[in-house]
Every structure is written in structure tokens, then in C-alpha cells.
């Protein structure tokens, strides 16, 4: 089954629906955790640090970090649920095991997880978007186009997280992914400070990571500075998904396939 086809199979959407059913039981705590934490960072950096300096041509800290945190909300919600949840559903509670006794292919399970992470990213992202809009930080209706960008970001960050979830021997190994890959990407992805003062090599590395492009796109759409390059950033996200999407598929097929 090719990855694009897996996204439109009915059973992929049913896998996503299963996650929605499970999530509904703890929706409030999930929403609270996924919104409060970025909000605290946002307010602390934006008002706290922002009282001392600005980012010059990039504007105030509040204005700079707001759309950055918007992208980060999608990254966090997708990363943690795909990694922990994916591990649990594969290894501990037999959710996938049950699916493959029914005619559900491993590719449909992975695609269902991508769809689910896209949903979460859009849900939490839109709440955060409302927060920064209420603070007067959104300057264009184009900001609504952040939602499809966040969906792509959710899918893209779900890919390595699910891959790790499907290959690690113990859940503690997921911390390697969080500490060595996810956290550096977040810190140097252009969320908290502009990257133009970094050495060239550091900037080049950042350019190769997905969050940089997601954040650039969100920032341009929120501030109304969207241009053709915004479309390019979105294209970068789509291309990265197309290149990496098979990774969890292959890992899951090794675990569950026949």
C-alpha cells in the first residue's frame, strides 16, 4: 500500500476515530496540559524577558514568540502523544494487536496515527491562536491558514516520534529522542529567537529541521507578511512528509505484519 493511498483508506480514519474515542475521556486534562504549558512559557518570555529588550527589526518578544509558540504547540502535542501513545498502543495494551486481527493493515494504523496527530495539532493550535489573537498579536485573516500548516507540522513530527515508539525496546529510550533530537530542534528552530545571528553552520542545520519552516510559515501568516516564500515553507513540510512517511510504516510492518 503506498503511503498516500493509506491516508484515504476508511480503516485509517477508523484508527483515528478510535484515538478520538479514547481521548474524549480525558479531553479536558489533555487540553489544559497542552495549552497551559506553552502559555506559561509564552507569557514568561514575552512579558518577562520582553520587558528588558526587543528583537529589533523582528519586533517585540511577545510578537516574535507568539506565532513561534503556535508552531511549538503542534510539535509538542504530536511528539508526546505519538511517542508515548504509540508505544503504549503497540506494546502494552494490545490496541494495534487487536486491529491486525481485523483486516487493518499496518500502513492504515500508521496513517490513522498521522491523521490523529494532525487533528490534535489543529485543535491545540487553534486554541493557542485564539489566545494570541485576544492579545492583539494577530494582524491578518491569513492567520487561519496556520491551521493547515499546523496539521502538516503535526503529521511531520508524528513520523519520527512514531518511528521511535515502534523500534525502542523500553519506553525509557524515548527520552533519547526527546533530549537529543526533539529538544534541540525546538530550541534552535526559531521559536524563541531569530536565527540570523547564529553562525552560518548552525543556521544551515536549523534550516534542515522542520520546525524552522513551520514557524516561519506561521509567523508570516499571523503577521500578515505572507509571501511566495511562505508557500515554499509549506512545500518544504510536504516534501519532508513525503520523504519520511514510510519509516513508521516499515517499522510497524516488522512488528505487526505477516
Amino acid at each position: 500500500m503506498n503511503p498516500a493511498e493509506a491516508f484515504i483508506r476508511p480503516n485509517s480514519w477508523r484508527v483515528c476515530r478510535r484515538n478520538l474515542l479514547a481521548w474524549q475521556k480525558y479531553a479536558w486534562s489533555s487540553v489544559t496540559i497542552n495549552i497551559i504549558e506553552p502559555l506559561v512559557y509564552f507569557l514568561a518570555f514575552g512579558y518577562g524577558l520582553g520587558a528588558y529588550f526587543t528583537y529589533g527589526v523582528h519586533g517585540s518578544l511577545l510578537q516574535y514568540i507568539g506565532p513561534g509558540m503556535l508552531g511549538l504547540t503542534a510539535v509538542n502535542s504530536a511528539t508526546f502523544d505519538a511517542a508515548w501513545g504509540g508505544y503504549e498502543r503497540l506494546t502494552n495494551n494490545g490496541v494495534y494487536e487487536s486491529m491486525v486481527t481485523a483486516p487493518v493493515a499496518p500502513e492504515e494504523i500508521a496513517a490513522g496515527e498521522y491523521l490523529w496527530q494532525a487533528f490534535r495539532a489543529v485543535l491545540y493550535g487553534s486554541i493557542f491562536l485564539c489566545v494570541i489573537a485576544s492579545l492583539g498579536l494577530v494582524h491578518s485573516w491569513l492567520a487561519l491558514l496556520c491551521l493547515p500548516v499546523l496539521a502538516l507540522t503535526g503529521v511531520l513530527f508524528a513520523i519520527p516520534a512514531l518511528y521511535m515508539a515502534f523500534i525502542v525496546k523500553t519506553p525509557e529510550h524515548l527520552f533519547y529522542y526527546f533530549a537529543l533530537i526533539a529538544t534541540p530542534m525546538v530550541m534552535f528552530g526559531g521559536v524563541f529567537f531569530p536565527l540570523d545571528k547564529l553562525p552560518r553552520w548552525a543556521f544551515d542545520i536549523a534550516w534542515c529541521t522542520p520546525l524552522y519552516h513551520a514557524v516561519n510559515a506561521c509567523r508570516a501568516l499571523v503577521t500578515g507578511a505572507a509571501s511566495w516564500s511562505t508557500l515554499g515553507e509549506t512545500g518544504w513540510l510536504i516534501a519532508a512528509i513525503a520523504v519520511l512517511v514510510w519509516l513508521p510504516h516499515a517499522a510497524l510492518r516488522r512488528k505487526l505484519g505477516n
Binding site: R14, L21, A22, N93, E97, S98, T101, A102, N258
Partner: protein, 307 residues
């Protein structure tokens, strides 16, 4: 392959690296019969079952399920069979009814039809009123029944059960047995594994005895007892010396020794005891009983622990 055959395997082999879990087995399961794989842990039963329900692929040989080649038709086979795996694959984050409805969805069963089917199954499996219960709040027996309900949602032609009653208390086990008997009476083909001789004797029309990845014997429980044991068995625990004179040998079909116990398989315990008494042997400690599948099993696989 005949239309009357539900599952057919020949030279079926499964290798995990250097370990050969199933070694070229051959069997044929007829439609509407209950066929059992009897064996100890590690005999290859579960691996065989997983190949039948298309969870794992065979290494070599051939396997047909409901007339379809298991390699290449996994999806089509899964649509037409029900699976009760060894581990209860119930979703702990969903309620009972959500478990059933979600699973039914994977078979493209429309929501209304799935709901009606789920309600009927819960009723018939005495899980009425448990619709909104969480899985962790169900007893072991209830969870097992729910797994069976799940396996029946798609009206399967063949139900595969891997150790359906292991770990259940006697009442729950009896209930599962009754349920499986009634399913068989309705014409469903059942394939199950067990290491419970009583279960095998009660439920199965035919049995295959597995050990170390091979099938050592196959037949009806009655035929297996006739072939590998005898009608009766006299267990002598006292270490009495039984002479092998001609008169006695005519009565004793088979002798087995284990520790200090001698097992004399024969067609009539009373006649054998009379013949022993006539020779002045009056075994102080003996058990006279009909032979069971357990004797067949132990005679084939040996009485010592393999581990």
C-alpha cells in the same frame, strides 16, 4: 482443495532465526468440526494458530484457509474468520460497547447493524448491562467472553481460539465451554489450542497432538485413546513386580513406568485385577480408572518435564 475443508496445511514450517517453532506439519480441518491442537507450552500451537489467522507468515510449506492461500490473501481471510488470541486484545481506553463498535467498523459493518449485533452478542454472552463498563472493571471471565463476542461480530465462518479458557475459574470455563458447544452445534467451524485434556475431550471432534513443533498423532479422542492407550488403565503405586508371563501379557496392551508407578493399559481392569489375584499379586495401592486423553498425551510426549 475440497469445499468441505476449512483449513489445510502441508509441510507447514515457521522458523524464527535458528529456532524452528513449527516443523513441516500437515493437517486438514473439515468445515463444521471442532479441531483441537493439544500440546504443552512451546509445542508450536500458538505459532500454528497465528499462521492460520494470518498474524504471521509461514516460512515454507502451504497453508489454505477457507480455500484461500494464506500468503497473499490475509485481508480476505481475516474478513471471514474470528480470532480469540491468547492475550485478550481489548482496548483498555474504550468501554465495552466502544470496543465492539470500533472493531466492527474495521470490517465495514454499518453502525446500525453493528450496534444490533453487539447488543445481541452481549445478551447471549451474559454481558447485558455492561455496555458502558471499562475493561479493567470486568472479571477475567467477562473479558474472555467479550473477546469471543468481538470475534463473532463479523459472522465468521471459522473461529480460531488460542487457549480460550486458560486462566479462567471453573465457572467461567464451563460457561465458555457451553458457548463453544452451542456455536459448534450451529455449524461454526472451530479451531482451538489447549493444554487442558478435559477441554479437548469435551469440545473437539478431532485432535492433533503437538510436541516440539511436530504433530505426533491425529484423530478423534476415542481413536487416540484406543491407539495410544487402551480402554482402562491400572496404576500401581507400590512398586509391585508384575511378571510378564503369557497369560498376563494377553491382557496388558501397554506398560509404562514413571518413578515408582507402573501403568498397565488394558481393556478391562476387573479382568486384569482378577488375573493378578490368581497369581497371588494383590496390589496394595492401586488406582483402576478408564484411560483418558491425558494418558495418550503422556504416552506420546513422555512423562518427564521437557524443560
Amino acid at each position: 482443495m475440497s469445499l468441505n475443508v476449512a483449513v489445510a496445511a502441508s509441510e507447514l514450517t515457521k522458523r524464527y532465526g535458528p529456532v524452528e517453532a513449527v516443523r513441516g506439519i500437515e493437517f486438514s480441518i473439515r468445515r463444521q468440526e471442532c479441531f483441537g491442537f493439544l500440546g504443552v507450552n512451546g509445542a508450536g500451537k500458538t505459532t500454528t494458530m497465528k499462521m492460520v489467522y494470518c498474524r504471521i507468515a509461514k516460512t515454507s510449506g502451504s497453508l489454505h484457509v477457507l480455500g484461500l492461500d494464506a500468503s497473499g490473501h490475509a485481508g480476505d481471510i481475516k474478513r471471514r474468520i474470528g480470532v480469540v488470541a491468547q492475550q485478550n486484545a481489548l482496548d483498555p481506553e474504550l468501554t465495552v460497547i466502544e470496543n465492539l463498535m470500533t472493531y466492527a467498523g474495521f470490517f465495514d459493518i454499518a453502525r446500525d447493524a453493528a450496534r444490533a449485533k453487539a447488543d445481541a452478542l452481549l445478551r447471549s454472552l451474559s454481558l447485558d448491562g455492561k455496555h458502558d463498563a471499562r475493561i479493567k472493571d470486568l472479571s477475567g471471565g467477562m473479558q474472555r467472553r467479550l473477546v469471543i463476542a468481538k470475534a463473532l461480530l463479523n459472522d465468521p465462518e471459522l473461529l480460531v481460539l488460542d487457549e480460550p479458557t486458560t486462566g479462567l475459574d471453573p465457572q467461567a470455563r464451563l460457561m465458555v465451554w457451553e458457548m463453544l458447544s452451542s456455536l459448534r452445534a450451529r455449524g461454526l467451524t472451530l479451531v482451538l489450542t489447549t493444554h487442558d485434556m478435559d477441554e479437548a475431550a469435551r469440545l473437539c471432534d478431532r485432535l492433533a497432538i503437538m510436541d516440539e513443533g511436530r504433530i505426533f498423532a491425529e484423530g478423534t479422542p476415542h481413536d487416540l485413546i484406543a491407539q495410544y492407550a487402551a480402554r482402562d488403565v491400572l496404576e500401581l503405586a507400590g512398586g509391585d513386580i508384575i511378571p510378564d508371563d503369557g497369560g498376563l501379557e494377553a491382557l496388558i496392551v501397554r506398560r509404562e513406568h514413571h518413578g515408582a508407578t507402573t501403568y498397565l493399559y488394558n481393556e478391562d481392569n476387573r479382568a486384569l485385577l482378577r488375573a493378578l489375584a490368581a497369581r497371588g499379586i494383590d496390589p496394595a495401592r492401586h488406582v483402576a480408572r478408564p484411560a483418558t486423553l491425558e494418558d495418550v498425551f503422556l504416552n506420546i510426549t513422555g512423562r518427564d518435564l521437557a524443560e
